[in-house]
Symmetry: C2
Subunit: 201 residues, 2 copies
Amino acid sequence: MSSDLTARARIRDAAIQLFAERGVEGATIRDIAQQADVSSGLLRHHFGSKEGLRDACDEWALHELTKVSGQFIEFSTLDGFTLRVRLLQSYLIRSILDGSPAGTAMFDRMLEYGEQWLATTDLKVADPRAFVAVLSVMKMSLFTMSDLMSRALGDDVTQPQAWGRMLRASLDLFSQPLITKEQALQAESAIDRVIAGEEAS
Amino acid sequence: MSSDLTARARIRDAAIQLFAERGVEGATIRDIAQQADVSSGLLRHHFGSKEGLRDACDEWALHELTKVSGQFIEFSTLDGFTLRVRLLQSYLIRSILDGSPAGTAMFDRMLEYGEQWLATTDLKVADPRAFVAVLSVMKMSLFTMSDLMSRALGDDVTQPQAWGRMLRASLDLFSQPLITKEQALQAESAIDRVIAGEEAS
DNA sequence: ACGTCGGCTACACAGTCGTGTAGTAAGCTA
DNA sequence: TAGCTTACTACACGACTGTGTAGCCGACGT
C-alpha cells in the first residue's frame, strides 16, 4: 500500500498503527521499521529514540486531529470522521492507557469540553466534575476495549458496520434513564455503608 | 507485611497485585518473587511458568470472587465489597485487557447477567446484545482507567472516598437521560452518513 | 540412622529489547 | 572535482526477560 510517502512519514504512520494496536510497550522498534519497510537504524536516525518517535506521533496525532475538529469524540459532529481520523483517535486513546502526555492532554480537553456541554444542558448533577469524568471515561472505553466489544458483538467494531451498531447502542443508553431514582438512592446508601466499613478498619 | 502465609500464597497474592497494577507483561517474575520475598526459582517451582502462575491467579480470583457474590460489578449489591475483593476485581478487569481466558470468562458472565437484568426492566432497547455489551464495557472502564479517573478527580479512586464519589457520579449518570430523543435521532443519521461514505470507498 | 521428597536458592542460558557505532550511497554547494 | 550534509544500512553491545539446571536443607517415613 503506502509507497509514495517519505520514509519518515511511513515510519510515523507505522508507529501510530502499531502503537494503537499493541501499545507503546508492545510495539518494538524493529516491528515498526519492518512495517515501514526501512531499517531500524533509519527510525533511530529520524527520531532519535523510541521515546522521540512516540513524541513525534503524539504531536502529529494531536495536530492532525485538531485540524479536523475541535472536539474529539462527539457523536453529534461526525463529519469528516474518516477511517484515518479514527486511527489517530484510537492511537491517542491507547496512549492514554500508556500514560502519554498527549493522551492526558486529550483527556483534559475532553473534560473541558464535557463541562462546557454540561453547562448547556439542564441536567441536575450533584458533582459536575465527577460526572463529566465518568462520562468521558465511559465514552472512551468503547474504543479502548474494542477487542472486547468485537467479541461481544461477534463483529469487528473497527469496521463501519459493527462500529455503527456500537454507537447506536450507546445513544440508546444515553437517551433514557437506566435506573430509577429509588434504585439510585438505595445504591448510594450501599456505597456509604461500604465506605464507612472501610474507614473503620 | 504479609508473613504468616504460605510462600505459595504469598507469591499468588503478589502476582495478583502486580498483574493488576502493571498488567501481565509489565510485571516480571523477578518482581513478583521479590514482592513475595522468595527467589524467582521458587515461583517457578510452584507454578511451572509465568503462564502457569497467571492461570493459578485467574482460577483463584474467579473462585474467590464467586464465593463472595454471584455477580461481580453491581452497585445494588455491595455487601462484602471489601478492599480485598476490589483487588481481585481489578485483577480480573486488568486481565481482560490482557486477553486472559479468565478475564473474558468474567466478561461473558457480566454480559449474561446484564441480559437477565435487562429483561427485568421495561427499557425499550433496539439491540439488546449491543446495549448490554456497551453498558458492561462502560461499567468496567471506571476501573480499567482508574489512573485517569484519579487524575480527573484529583484524588485516588482506589481509596474509599474518591471511589464513592466516582460511583455516585455514575449513579447520577445512569438515573437520567443525557440526550433527548431528537438528539439521538440526529446522531444516528450522522452515524449512517459516515458508514455510507465509508462503504462507498 | 538413612533415604527421599518437597520447599527453596543460586546461577547460567538464549532470546529480545532499545541503543550505540561504523560505514555506504546520493545530492548539494563551492 | 572536492567536501559536506543527509538518508540509510549492517552489526554489535548491554540490559532484561522467561526458562532451565544443579544443588542445599529440613521433615518425614522406615
